[in-house]
């Protein structure tokens, strides 16, 4: 990889220019109404908010890939784990859920983790000839005990007010507190996966993370006691005002009238601006921290490891240890983004976690933006997200233009009808082109 990362003078204006391009795109989306732009500030800001969250995800992936060359194919899983936090922290407690089986459930989870820890100890301590059997016995006993505790607890919790709850419920704490907790959830799982898969071939980590991504989403979908599974949890508290409250506030309505906006549009825009401000603060803070870390001796060590593992190892650096560290930190950032996303949506819907959209699209963002460069990853994320959303509208329009010469009929309508799917092809082509002709991305690493 070292041959693709050689420093070449790149203009300092490049970043500013790209930033301006993005601003222009969002302004066009907000103000011009034609076949290509919606002309609604509400839509424009909605895309921007999700773009900012994507930028946080891209920062996390960039730490893993850009700083350390680790391929995380399970971004969607860490994102979903982070999304669990707002449910468990911020939603109101479900009456009766804890009495139904809370303690037993905690005990079961404790037994589950305890079994794994004990098994690891057994493997280390017990005599060579016996240890396989001791390990199997420990795991089997632990599993039986776990199921004995777990199953009745789950049945009891799910039976509690099934129609509107049926889950363990939250703690009713402020939703902003859920964001760092989401990061912690993701970090904990990342530590477990990294401990096993790091230090082996680089693609083993990719396959292991692919697996953990699928499993986390499957857990979210099926464990109804946790976050109601496919029945979804809605009404997650917000850190910003509600549109309806604003519309009922005479002061706000008066101010909206001053700007010449009707209260419904104005409240939507105001709420989205609040979110955008909040997300921008988080994003800038993360970039600041990441840049500081990258300029410190620690950052130099990480880059040295990435560029030449053998040399770094010869200098006495513990490569696997550092890889584990950066993998956990990156996953924590992704978890944070997951919690932010759920806060923005106000809804957990596990069937929405699609790996193409939430793992591999984030990868496209990082590669296009410039792997190794935090600003690049963030810019790439917002740009690609904008294009991804708009491609759904642009695809059929472009296809209509392209198929002008064709007679109206089956083929033409099929092509126009399937044009929204073309964005997958477009993203793949973009990724391949950037990877080949500009492997350092739009904003190359300095």
């Amino acid at each position: 990889m070292s041959n693709t990362r050689q420093a070449e003078a790149s203009s300092p204006w490049r970043g500013v220019l790209l930033f301006l391009v993005i601003v222009v795109l969002f302004v066009l989306e907000g103000s011009v109404r034609n076949a290509f732009f919606s002309g609604s500030w509400n839509t424009s800001l909605a895309i921007l908010n999700m773009g900012l969250i994507s930028a946080v995800m891209a920062l996390g992936v960039n730490m893993q890939w850009g700083y350390a060359g680790l391929f995380n194919a399970g971004v969607v899983g860490f994102l979903a784990l982070g999304g669990l936090a707002p449910v468990l922290i911020a939603t109101a407690p479900v009456p009766g859920a804890w009495d139904a089986g809370g303690v037993r459930l905690l005990l079961a989870l404790f037994v589950g983790i305890g079994t794994l820890v004990l098994a690891a100890q057994v493997w280390k301590q017990v005599d060579r000839h016996l240890r396989v059997w001791a390990l199997i016995a420990t795991l089997a006993l632990g599993f039986v005990l776990y199921r004995w505790l777990f199953d009745p607890a789950v049945t009891a919790i799910e039976a509690n007010n099934t129609a509107s709850a049926g889950n363990i419920g939250g703690l009713g704490l402020p939703v902003l507190l859920a964001w760092p907790v989401g990061a912690l959830f993701a970090a904990a799982v990342a530590w477990g996966v990294g401990k096993v898969a790091l230090g082996l071939r680089s693609d083993y980590l990719a396959i292991a993370t692919l697996g953990i991504g699928e499993i986390v989403v499957a857990v979210m979908r099926n464990e109804e006691w946790l976050a109601r599974g496919v029945k979804n949890v809605s009404g997650i508290p917000r850190p910003v005002p509600y549109e309806l409250d604003l519309q009922n506030d005479p002061g706000f309505v008066a101010r909206a009238a001053e700007w010449g906006l009707d209260p419904a549009t104005a409240s939507g825009i105001w709420v989205k601006l609040c979110y955008a401000g909040l997300f921008t603060v988080v994003l800038l803070l993360l970039i600041l921290l990441a840049e500081l870390a990258l300029k410190s001796p620690w950052g130099r060590m990480m880059r040295a490891i990435r560029d030449n593992e053998t040399a770094a190892e010869a200098m006495g650096k513990n490569v696997t240890r550092r890889h584990l560290q950066i993998f956990v930190i990156g996953s924590a950032v992704i978890g944070l983004a997951g919690a932010m996303m759920i806060t923005l949506d106000g809804l957990v819907s596990p069937s929405g976690y699609n790996p193409l959209r939430y793992t591999f699209l984030i990868w496209v963002m990082v590669i296009v933006g410039g792997s190794g460069n935090n600003w690049g990853a963030a810019l790439g994320a917002i740009l690609i997200w904008f294009l991804w959303i708009k491609a759904e509208v642009w695809g059929p329009e472009i296809m209509r233009l392209l198929t002008m010469p064709l007679p109206d009929g089956g083929l033409r309508s099929h092509l126009i009808g399937s044009a929204p799917q073309m964005r997958f092809i477009a993203m793949g082509v973009v990724l391949l082109l950037v990877l080949r002709f500009a492997p350092r991305g739009l904003l190359p690493e300095k």
């Binding site: 990889m1 041959n3 693709t4 060359g69 391929f71 194919a73 599993f143 199953d151 096993v196 898969a197 082996l200 071939r201 680089s202 693609d203 083993y204 990719a206 396959i207 292991a208 692919l210 697996g211 953990i212 699928e214 499993i215 499957a218 857990v219 979908r221 099926n222 790996p355 193409l356 591999f360 990868w363 496209v364 590669i367 399937s418 799917q421 073309m422 964005r423 997958f424 092809i425 477009a426 993203m427 793949g428 082509v429 990724l431 391949l432 990877l435 080949r436």
Partner: protein, 335 residues
């Protein structure tokens, strides 16, 4: 204790489905492992190659059905399969020419190749969506059962039934033939030996005059053929749904790693290991236990893990192998 009924239930719900599924995984794992052995990267686009190839096969099947040709009791897809393989192989060879060859010549880090395969995955995924859509498609015409549960009950007089679907038997027969053909090819023919030599030691193979481009070409063709066969058989056995082929990537990788990446025999064994564990762990054993121990009335279904978590099984197997034997059961390429 009713061993006969227990055995029949076991056959019907565990052994037969797991064997068919294992055969499909084995074919897929063979493809992944061959590509890994020669081209030295994990091909993330493999699942979508399977999906795309199956989509082509389905489209040719429709064309053949429209012509009124059928080979009852076998499914029409069998005639369409060679066409599906040919079209997909052409596309994959084209992909190699415009994408992978560049990186191969530059001898980049394998992980960059993996990244490129993610790009290819996106393109193939989009192509499949445009070609055939994202809905579930059934294309298994021909006879459904070789013998059904009712037939078996009437014939044997047992309470438990056993059925064998045509697609299951077909899967097993085709897999056996393909594996046999592939092993003969790898062990006996000149090209096959060249491939193994290239996989073992690239420099030495080049030194002895093996044409690397030919080896790579043949590998892609065989890998694609395996992908399309596995995909079509899987689609005949269950249904065709593009997203399922992305999900099956994990058990296929697990099978290849369990057997030892780069080792063809290992891939076949790995496929069956993964499939049998998956089915055995997600099967509710209550029925079989009821026949074996009539006096025992267990409370639950005796299911170790619910079916939704079948992917967790491949994952756990993968983790266990990575922890204890990173090179796989049969010595594959090491770290």
């Amino acid at each position: 204790m009713d061993i006969l009924n227990a055995g029949v239930a076991l056959l019907n719900f565990v052994v037969v489905p797991a064997a068919a599924y294992g055969a499909q995984l084995a074919l897929g794992a063979l493809g992944v492992t061959l590509i890994y052995g020669i081209l030295r990267f994990s091909n993330f686009a493999f699942g979508d190659t399977m999906a795309m190839g199956t989509a082509f096969t389905i489209m040719v099947t429709w064309a053949i059905q429209a012509l009124g040709i059928a080979i009852f009791p076998l499914p029409t897809a069998l005639i369409a399969l060679p066409f599906g393989i040919a079209v997909t192989a052409l596309i994959v060879l084209f992909t190699d020419r415009i994408v992978y060859r560049f990186y191969r010549r530059k001898k980049v880090d394998p992980i960059v190749m993996v990244m490129a395969s993610v790009g290819v995955m996106f393109v193939m995924n989009g192509l499949t969506r445009v070609l055939i859509g994202v809905e579930e498609i059934r294309f298994d015409d021909g006879a459904r059962f070789l013998f059904s549960v009712q037939d078996f009950r009437a014939w044997s007089g047992l309470t438990e039934g056993l059925s064998l679907r045509v697609s299951q038997l077909l899967t097993l027969i085709i897999t056996a033939l393909v594996c046999w053909g592939l092993f003969v090819f790898l062990n006996r023919t000149r090209t096959g030996k060249a491939m193994r030599a290239y996989s073992d030691n690239e420099d030495l193979a080049l030194l002895s005059g093996i044409d690397p481009d030919q080896v790579v070409r043949i590998t892609w063709i065989i890998g694609t053929a395996l992908a399309v066969i596995a995909g079509t058989l899987y689609g005949l056995d269950k249904t065709f749904k593009a997203f399922n082929y992305f999900q099956i990537l994990l058990p296929i990788f697990a099978a290849a790693i369990v057997g030892g990446l780069g080792n063809p025999l290992g891939a076949v064994v790995g496929g069956f290991v993964v499939a049998f564990s998956e089915v055995a762990i997600t099967y509710p054993w209550k029925k079989v236990a009821g026949y074996l121990f009539p006096d025992w009335q267990p409370e639950g279904l005796l299911q170790l893990l619910s079916t939704e978590y079948k992917f967790a099984v491949s994952f756990v197997i993968l983790i266990v192998v990575l922890l204890f034997k990173p090179t796989g059961l049969f010595r594959g390429k090491s770290v």
